[in-house]
Symmetry: C2
């Protein structure tokens, strides 16, 4: 089993007797926690090794956590030992969350990975089979309008009532009983359970509306009943995934202000001190604490544009489903603050076309590749099958001493090449422009020269050398890119018709190296499809908050672009405003990314 049940319960008692002044919320029932968290949640095991992704953590916290561009941000991924796992539930919302206590162990893990000595750690995550076998009788029902209306009670599905509730005396005319169920906080709720109506059905009447009101349940939310092996009834809720209104109030008020959280964690990482992560499994679509095995395995899989994959997800009726899609882009989400991060580095298109409802940026460990990579035009980037991990040493904590050629980094150097190929280092050129004094990627270019795209057909969008980047700088200045004061907060001004009059076409196959700039449309209006207004209503920004203000100079052209669900084929020519506008208005959900392929013509 993943988590030692006894140890958790011991800690529960321990905290219960601790002084009140500590203000530690009590830990909650393990099974109920997992039932509320959903079937897909894999919680790291105490004592195991995980990969912590600060970028995902920041997204989880709601971005408000990072004030500005800080040089003391943590590296994009950190190997950590899980010192402690505590399960909690929000007092106000009943949302389940976990507190993970982590200690950075970068060097140790990296060394053992290189020595191949981390095989035993692959069992860090819970085996789901074991957990489901332990999971007792339970059911989960999404509430209907009738269930939440003040007009009546709760209609219990027949199977569920027979499975979880004590049996009724069906001889009687209208058999009934009182049910007592404890919620996540141990609070008892009493319901009148009656079997009546024509045809007969199970209902919860008296007591039900009080529960609905207190928990502020609405139709679409789900309740779950769980009968423990001791016969005790437990009761949890899973709220419907609602549109996030600005900042997540729960995380904010429960754990205090997020302001400076990441700075504090950064300090704890660099000094190997223990730090705590509050993780709300239902508010994030992608995990930012990954079991080591899952992480290394995902990086071992080859990633390529056009690659097909499947992913597990939780359907609306809380069942585990699978869906499939295709990778349509690979690149950094935030090359300014976290260059070479794997976090959501994949742009995907879903087969069922549910673009808006589902996340379109995934991390490699979110997906499982499907055998037949439909790669006629796919541009695959292979990786060593049994990669020994060494992270991109953009941060001093991870890097070897400058100029020192360590023999054990030969393999990792090759890995760097691959990663850079995946990451479209055009963004590095961007960094060189906005922050000319700091050129983090220069060092690595000099140490590991970029492979020639012609000799390495896998790399589709080859990197520019430093000289080319200087020339590119001139191009961008022609575009009047203004660095924002706070790169994390994009402008909110109206967009001055960015693409109108641009000649959009793909570069000829023999053209010189092109580059990829990532844009982030911040406000999209799907109603503007096909009209000229689509470009006005959707603001387009350079990643990091820089705004393209006007058309490029004549010596630069946008040769292509790619939206969330559409990447042009290599030879495809995309031309004119209309189509660009249409595409902008069409598939562009808030937060999705636009890849524009720019290059100077030969």
């Amino acid at each position: 089993m993943g988590i030692d049940l006894n140890s958790v319960e011991e800690e529960e008692e321990e905290e219960a007797s601790a002084p009140v002044g500590l203000l530690q919320p009590p830990t909650v029932c393990l099974e109920l926690w997992h039932a509320c968290a959903g079937p897909l949640i894999l919680l790291p095991k105490k004592g195991s090794v995980v990969v912590y992704l600060p970028q995902g953590h920041l997204e989880h916290l709601g971005e408000s956590a990072a004030a500005a561009y800080r040089h003391d941000l943590p590296p994009p991924q950190v190997f950590c030992r899980v010192v402690d796992v505590k399960l909690h539930a929000d007092v106000n919302t009943d949302e389940v969350y976990a507190r993970l206590s982590l200690v950075a162990e970068n060097e140790e893990v990296e060394r053992r990975l290189n020595e191949g000595g981390m095989e035993g750690e692959d069992e860090a995550e819970e085996a789901e089979g074991e957990r489901s076998s332990v999971m007792p009788h339970m059911f989960c029902k999404t509430l209907t309008a009738s269930d939440t209306s003040t007009h009546g009670g709760f209609s219990v599905p027949r199977r569920a009532a027979e499975d979880c509730f004590p049996p009724l005396d069906y001889v009687q005319q209208r058999p009934s009983q009182e049910l007592v169920a404890k919620d996540l906080h141990g609070v008892e709720w009493r319901f009148r359970h009656i079997y009546r109506g024509q045809p007969r059905r199970h209902l919860l009447t008296t007591g039900w509306s009080a529960f609905v009101n207190k928990k502020k349940l609405v139709s679409g939310d789900a309740v779950l009943f769980l009968r423990g092996n001791d016969g005790e009834l437990r009761l949890g809720i899973r709220r419907a995934v609602q549109l996030k209104t600005g900042t997540p109030a729960g995380a904010l008020y429960t754990h205090g202000s997020n302001h400076g959280v990441l700075e504090a964690i950064s300090g704890a990482i660099s000094t190997k001190r223990e730090f705590q992560i509050y993780y709300n499994p239902r508010s994030s679509s992608s995990d930012f604490v990954i079991p080591l095995g899952k992480f290394t395995k995902s990086l071992g899989n080859p990633l390529s544009i056009g690659m097909r994959f499947k992913m597990r997800y939780e359907s609306e009726d809380s069942a585990e489903r699978r869906c499939t899609g295709m990778v349509t882009g690979i690149g950094d989400v935030d090359p300014m603050r976290w260059p070479s991060s794997k976090w959501r580095c994949l742009l995907v298109r879903w087969d069922d076309g549910l673009t808006s409802s589902r996340q379109n940026r995934l991390s490699p460990w979110d997906i499982e590749p499907i055998g037949n990579a439909s790669g006629s035009h796919a541009l695959s980037v292979p990786s060593s099958k049994r990669t020994k991990i060494c992270l991109h040493p953009a941060n001093a904590n991870f890097s070897a001493p400058h100029g020192a050629a360590r023999p054990d980094l030969v393999e990792s150097a090759r890995f760097h090449k691959v990663l850079q190929g995946q990451e479209f280092t055009g963004s590095h050129a961007l960094e060189g422009i906005t922050i000319p004094s700091s050129q983090p990627s220069t060092h690595f270019r000099s140490h590991h020269p970029i492979p020639n795209p012609n000799t390495n057909p896998h790399i589709t969008y080859p990197c520019m050398g430093f000289v080319e980047s200087l020339r590119f700088q001139k191009v961008l200045q022609g575009q009047e890119i203004y660095p924002a004061a706070y790169p994390t907060r994009p402008f909110h001004s109206a967009y001055p018709t960015p693409t109108r009059g641009y000649s959009l076409m793909m570069p000829p196959q023999a053209s010189s190296p092109s580059s990829v700039l990532m844009f982030q449309p911040n406000l999209c209006n799907s109603s503007g499809e096909g009209s000229n207004e689509s470009a006005e209503t959707g603001n387009v920004f350079l990643s990091g908050g820089n705004r393209v203000k006007e058309r490029p100079e004549k010596d630069c052209r946008l040769f292509g672009f790619s939206l969330t669900d559409r990447i042009p084929a290599r030879n495809e020519v995309v031309k004119g405003d209309g189509q660009m506008d249409k595409t902008l208005g069409h598939g562009c959900a808030t937060g999705s990314a636009l890849y524009a392929i720019c290059a100077t013509p030969l």
Copy 2:
């Protein structure tokens, strides 16, 4: 007027248009804020100089803010410039609070004080007369059971309705109108105001219960209506002072975790950076940010045991009252962490005997001396009438360089003598025991020799010289005083009959210098009065968490003691266990202090 009304309102608008991401709560209406805060609140003026008392701040935060004994705690009092004042109201509870932005200006203020150049700054606090003249028509009513019952509406006092509400057409049978009032957050509340019944009276009916429910008002809380000069109606609430349940949830969840707040402020003080203080005027019985003038004036008053004083307080019907009392003890509350702090250094007894309901420890600026100091046995400690302030340099930030005799500190040196006389440096001797390596007071003793008590009859409990303090150290060791690991958290073990068998008597008048140790009974059981159990149930600690474990050696005796509401007269002899136990069980409320007067016999 104390606060520039215009500037506050400008800032309000400024913040309203600021991006939401900043998460700054909006500032609130100045008059309404003051109405809710109560008549006694004097808020420092922007730009003025104040004295900040970290010890009081810590108490305000609920003690949970300080983890352990830290050497980087701020000094006990810090001169600060008020950079900004913002008025807020808690979104959930409507509690008013202020955010003060302070910058430490110790040296500057100290210098100007010594030069006598701070006269102009005495107007730093608001003149209350001006404010009350500006204060518009308002009334405040404590809610009755009928007011808060679902059965009916709100009974408006006749004067109040005529004063604040628009006039009704009394010709009609049952004249009524709709009132619209804005609360602290600008939210509008609508009430039906009707004049009916036999005899006629003003009532708020429709809309009232919604307000009561939303604000979670209970009988005992107070509502206040305020009619602005523009005729606009405003509405505030003052909740009844309830028993604090552990930590103040409001401060904790509104401003994030308090953990480490003081450490951060300490850093800001030492580096002269701006820092913010959140101040909830209704949750603290004593201010920890004092206008400079009030502070210096209070230290200019002579303080003595037996001195009578008066103090303003807010009665239950929110009116301003005065009560009188007598000083029964003077000494440090926490000599371990904040030696020589003025915070709550006065132990008082109230004339009306309301020991339990009212704070029995006050700071000098809380009280106003009454002319006739009933000083037959009063032991007054005079101070220079026009004192130039220089603080006790226990902290390096305040102290002059060692060995450097600065001419401008001559006057301040004299002030030190006075302060030391007030502070019963017996606590310094304590420090010398628990932390032998740090003897903060030694430096000043050597520089400014303690005056002979015989030549200075004003000093009742004269300070010991360093040699005497060493001898005293031996005495205390004989008592087996064990320094606690965490002085902020007292032991909770049973009390091992501390006074049993002690001979308690006052020293003869001609005896050698005695000293005062302060004890803090932590758990008191008033039911044990007169029985032998009283000593067992009430734990007694040395202030700072040190515990007296056993009887003193025969060369030391407890010559007297004083409880919260009782200090023995100079010649009074208090003897035996029984009486000690009885007194312990009698007047000893949790948190009150026991002064035991110890000395070695001649």
